[in-house]
């Protein structure tokens, strides 16, 4: 019988491309023969924008990269700037930062869980995920007044100290969360249909994953124990007890399981941070550059200048964001604005591995594998 290959254009407006992503698929019936990922529909020129803003002004823009988990974006940029300018950060600020980032990791994985299951056709887990996320977002709201675009971590510390009653609320959230994760596991993990859809689907070998530059949980799902929190420790991570979760299979199910385990690990880290929160100031009191001491009582940032000039130089600093390695390359020419900013975003690098995972499989497998990569299009296109 004479057959013809079908060119299918999936996206940029499609229910399960998580935003504006486009796949150009060459189909043989239901089987994908070739896949091309077309991105750039959400390009906003964030890197270029950074060259026109002062160091402090660019922080809110980093919120808009990976808007599901914005704290690590804040931190990655701020860490680069602090290394560039040699700013020292008090211990309490570092504790608060780690607390925020790990809380955001839980939030990110909750959204991942929900959207993955929604992609597979189960409508309930996303509601459960968002129910718990709401509680975490309320914690963030309490902390910095915003729910998703925080602008909370700043060079020199954090914007405001912990509010009253934050730690008890956090403890309540963590206690609740443990039970909810059990619920998710009972609801999803053993489900035969879920296993059918996830096991041995979208397999990528460790070597191939490394070659594509995949990082984060997606890489750890292939059995590579690559976690920047351990390899190149930053902030207070060297003092914390947590294990790097990884599964050797490299299929969609392994990537899913890594994230479920990471949720538990993050809760474990959160507990340590919340219990050992040191007293002190949440922002540096070091006078920097030309700025006078203003001493405004409104903010713990009051000692830190709004405009500062790091010495000429360049720095690449990377952290383990929930989706993978997030790096900021910042070049200073000694003025108040960075000369160049380059963002190495985890979603972008993980996304390019999709074609090699799904060629020869079917459209539903593309959806499942794409869901387990966990990309945010704001992060892909920047």
């Amino acid at each position: 019988m004479e057959t013809e290959q079908l060119l299918l254009n999936m996206g940029p407006v499609h229910p399960s491309t998580h935003g504006v992503l486009r796949f150009k698929l060459r189909m043989d019936g239901e089987i994908i023969r070739d896949c091309q990922v077309v991105m750039g529909y959400l390009h906003r020129g964030t890197e270029k924008l950074g060259e026109m803003k002062t160091y402090l002004q660019f922080v809110p823009y980093t919120d808009r990269l990976d808007y599901i988990a914005a704290m690590p974006n804040n931190y990655a940029y701020v860490k680069a700037v602090e290394e560039l300018a040699g700013i020292e950060v008090p211990e309490r600020a570092e504790f608060i930062r780690v607390l925020c980032m790990e809380l955001n990791r839980v939030v990110n994985h909750l959204v991942f869980l929900g959207s993955l299951l929604l992609d597979l056709g189960a409508s309930t887990p996303i509601m459960y995920g968002f129910r718990e996320r709401e509680k975490a977002l309320q914690l963030f709201e309490m902390l910095c007044g915003a729910r998703m675009t925080f602008n909370y971590i700043k060079p020199g510390g954090v914007r405001e100290d912990l509010p009253e009653g934050f730690i008890p609320k956090l403890n309540e959230f963590m206690k609740d969360m443990e039970k909810r994760v059990d619920d998710y596991e009972q609801l999803i993990n053993g489900n035969e249909i879920f296993l059918l859809r996830m096991k041995n689907i979208g397999v990528i070998s460790a070597e191939e994953a490394v070659n594509y530059g995949m990082t984060g949980p997606s890489l750890r799902g292939s059995g590579v124990k690559y976690d920047i929190r351990r390899l190149e420790p930053y902030s207070i991570y060297p003092d914390l007890d947590f294990k790097v979760c990884s599964y050797p299979e490299g299929d969609s199910y392994a990537r899913y399981m890594v994230r479920i385990d990471e949720m538990r690990e993050s809760l474990h880290i959160l507990r340590q941070v919340a219990d050992n929160m040191p007293p002190g100031k949440a922002a540096t009191t070091q006078r920097y550059g030309i700025a006078p001491e203003t001493g405004i009582p409104s903010s713990v940032m009051s000692y830190f200048p709004r405009i500062f000039t790091p010495p000429p130089g360049e720095v690449y600093s990377r952290i383990e964001a929930p989706k993978g390695e997030l790096g900021f390359y910042v070049v200073s020419d000694g003025t108040t604005k960075p000369y160049r900013i380059k963002i190495r975003s985890p979603s972008f690098c993980n996304l390019v591995a999709i074609p090699s995972m799904i060629v020869g499989l079917k459209i539903p497998d593309l959806i499942a594998a794409f869901g387990t990569i966990d990309v945010v299009l704001g992060d892909v296109d920047r």
Binding site: V59, T124, Q138, E141, R159, Q186, F194, S298, M301, R306
Partner: protein, 129 residues
Amino acid sequence: MIGIIQGLIVTLKHVLQIGNRPTVTVQYPYERMKVSPRFRGKHAVDEDACIGCGICEVNCPNGTITIVKYNTRWFPQFDLGMCLFCGLCVDVCPMNALKMTGDYELADYTRESLIYGPEKLLFKKEVNK
């Protein structure tokens, strides 16, 4: 089969609301959630404290703020259609005159009506005499 039955049990627990699984939705227009005191919503300008210096204007990353003349003095005017609600203007204000309120229902029909001039933003701090 066993896994599916386990899942069915979890969802049934939610239907019957067994074990701290209550309905959590907020019926929005009729009931509202309390926003935190630090909530970053619509701005407010302290009429007595503001000196119209323009530091907020300079520091705004998005060019939201312009300083306009209102009666005899100068005050900031916010184009909330462009605002990031990052709170930098509040952080940098030398007189501590700016604050952000919990007012988040800012949707409007035209871009022009999103420009909030001093007449909409000014407030007077109560002073203990």
